[in-house]
């Protein structure tokens, strides 16, 4: 079954890539815009760190690692789940009905049906920056690399749960755009170490809207700044979020009424 779903994903990803390439101007402009966005904020951090030796106690390369990890997770989420941004159109037009009658999971189709090749370039750049900043920080162990990678995947699971919740809101209220941009705006708070924020904002990012768990915990664990209790908490959060989001998805499907296809 996994092979079948991978085949479907690949087919849809190739189709959307072909659509992206059909407008080379759009492809180049969007890709350039995403790269510029990455570079500009990086330059801002460089300028800032020339005058201040640390931000919230973190050195330059530690701050860059936070930023690179944020970009890694952010672009991975956009690359995999770009279809969520188009979901409102499907619900409004009734095309979502066709998702429901096909012999694959409608959730899979709604989540993974529109891979965005334009985010792939920044994704690769982010990986490069993660590796380079880890090398610059130095003094790391196999364990710290392992826990970092594990928590990055954990972060991706939390991101997927967020996207499923956005789909749920899309079915129940057709309001997707502002919800997804609210998620994106909130997640940009994790571009810098979340220790920058005072209470109660910091606790909000860890306990209420676990974007801090998603984006900051991998780096903190790598830097041995995260206790085993918080590492366990991170995995519990992802498990609970996925469980709740899937339950809500099933509820939303029961409540769904077609706009007529």
């Amino acid at each position: 079954m996994l092979r079948r779903y991978f085949k479907v994903w690949w087919m849809l990803a190739v189709a959307w890539t072909q659509i992206a390439f059909s407008s080379r101007f759009g492809l180049i402009a969007f890709s350039l815009g995403k790269i510029l966005r990455f570079v500009f904020f990086f330059l801002f951090l460089v300028i800032l760190m020339t005058k201040t030796k640390n931000i919230a106690g973190y050195t330059f390369w530690q701050v860059i690692l936070f930023y690179a990890t944020f970009n890694l997770l952010d672009t991975a989420a956009q690359f995999l789940w770009r279809e969520v941004y188009r979901f409102r159109r499907y619900v409004n037009s009734g095309s979502f009905d066709y998702f429901l009658v096909k012999p694959i999971s409608p959730l899979f189709r709604a989540l993974f049906g529109g891979t965005d090749i334009m985010d792939f370039f920044v994704f690769l750049i982010s990986i490069g920056f993660v590796v380079y900043s880890i090398m610059q920080i130095g003094s790391f162990s196999i364990y710290s690399i392992f826990i970092y990678i594990l928590l990055v995947f954990n972060g991706l699971i939390i991101a997927m749960a967020f996207h499923i919740l956005i789909l749920v809101v899309g079915i129940l209220s057709t309001e997707v755009e502002n919800v997804i941009w609210l998620y994106r705006d909130l997640s940009t708070m994790a571009r810098v170490p979340i220790d920058v924020y005072k209470e109660p904002v910091r606790s909000l990012l860890i306990f209420a809207i676990p974007l801090g768990v998603m984006m900051a915990f991998p780096v903190k664990a790598f830097l041995s700044l995260l206790s085993w209790q918080f590492i366990a908490y991170a995995f519990i959060v992802s498990f609970v979020m996925i469980f709740v989001s899937l339950w809500l998805w099933k509820y939303a499907l029961r409540e769904y009424s077609s706009a007529s296809s």
Binding site: A29, F44, L48, K51, W181, L182, T188, Y197, K198
Partner: protein
């Protein structure tokens, strides 16, 4: 009902109005009513989707809080960095939020889609100036956004109690308002220009995306531009972006000397005029190639 007709009848009755006020005044009132209706529709359409509106307001608040807390941490109280004290930087953050809302809330993002859909034809046939129509729509948008932002910032100010600087000099306040108006008009021209790309290429969001990315960095949305190295800052001052956000806030902070204020206004107004003429030129060229596709 009869009393209402007696009192307001002349205002609503075109024939009576033209007789009582004369032709030119009557025309002025009718034009005023036309654009007032556009503002009303703009206000109503913003409030039509309440959940969407609520989400949008929450986004504005969180965007503000992100930058506010970031700079609060980077420049703690009784410290300074890049020539900004804690209080000045937080005032800058408040300033860019208010000025940003006034300058950047615009419905002209839809111009490109209108051209792509062929709906521009409706406006070309109507007795309404296309630019005045959008300017009036913008005004409606700005009124709603500014009103809510001021209320939100007031609440945040009472909760957070930041030590922000309140300008007391009336001349400086008036200059800030004037700088904000120039910024709003310049941004309107730029946005219309971005929309006119649709006359030649249906892909309108890609160049707009790059523009927003450049705007965030070059307009001083995340940091005051004068923290940049001097040659870089001087280059930024030659571009129109600095006058959309950074310059009005600097005027408010009173950190510019007279010569810098004059220079800033000169460059800002200059760019406004240049972009206006480019916009008109592109509009006329665009109309020649417009084919109302989609209609």
């Amino acid at each position: 009902m009869l009393l209402e007709k007696f009192l307001w009848g002349p205002i609503n009755d075109p024939l009576l109005l033209s007789i009582t006020l004369g032709n030119s005044r009557f025309k002025l009132i009718m034009i005023f009513k036309k654009y007032l209706a556009i503002i009303k529709i703009s206000l109503l359409s913003v409030m039509a989707y309440r959940l969407s509106f609520l989400m949008w307001r929450i986004r504005t608040i969180f965007t503000f809080l992100t930058i506010f807390y970031f700079w609060s941490s980077v420049i703690p109280q009784n410290n300074s960095l890049f020539g900004y004290s804690h209080s000045q930087m937080l005032t800058y953050v408040f300033g860019i939020t208010i000025i940003g809302i006034f300058v950047f809330s615009s419905s002209t993002n839809s111009v490109g889609e209108e051209i792509n859909d062929g709906n521009l034809s409706n406006f070309l046939l109507k007795p309404i100036n296309y630019f005045s129509y959008w300017l009036t729509q913008d005004l409606g948008d700005k009124i709603v956004n500014l009103a809510f932002t001021i209320i939100e910032l007031l609440i945040l100010f009472l909760l957070l109690r930041p030590p922000i600087f309140l300008q007391k000099d009336l001349v400086t306040i008036l200059l800030t308002v004037f700088a904000g108006l120039i910024a709003a008009i310049t941004y309107f021209f730029i946005n219309m220009l971005m929309g006119f790309i649709a006359f030649w290429n249906p892909e309108i969001w890609a160049p707009r995306f790059i523009f927003f990315v450049l705007l965030g960095f070059f307009a001083g949305q995340y940091f005051p531009l004068d923290i940049l190295p001097k040659p870089v800052f001087e280059f930024f001052q030659l571009l129109p972006f600095a006058y959309l956000l950074y310059f009005p806030v600097k005027v408010y902070l009173g950190q510019l000397v007279f010569g810098q204020v004059v220079q800033g206004f000169a460059v800002g107004i200059g760019w406004s005029i240049v972009i206006f003429f480019i916009m008109i030129f592109v509009w006329k060229r665009g109309l020649r190639s417009y084919s109302a596709q989609g209609r």
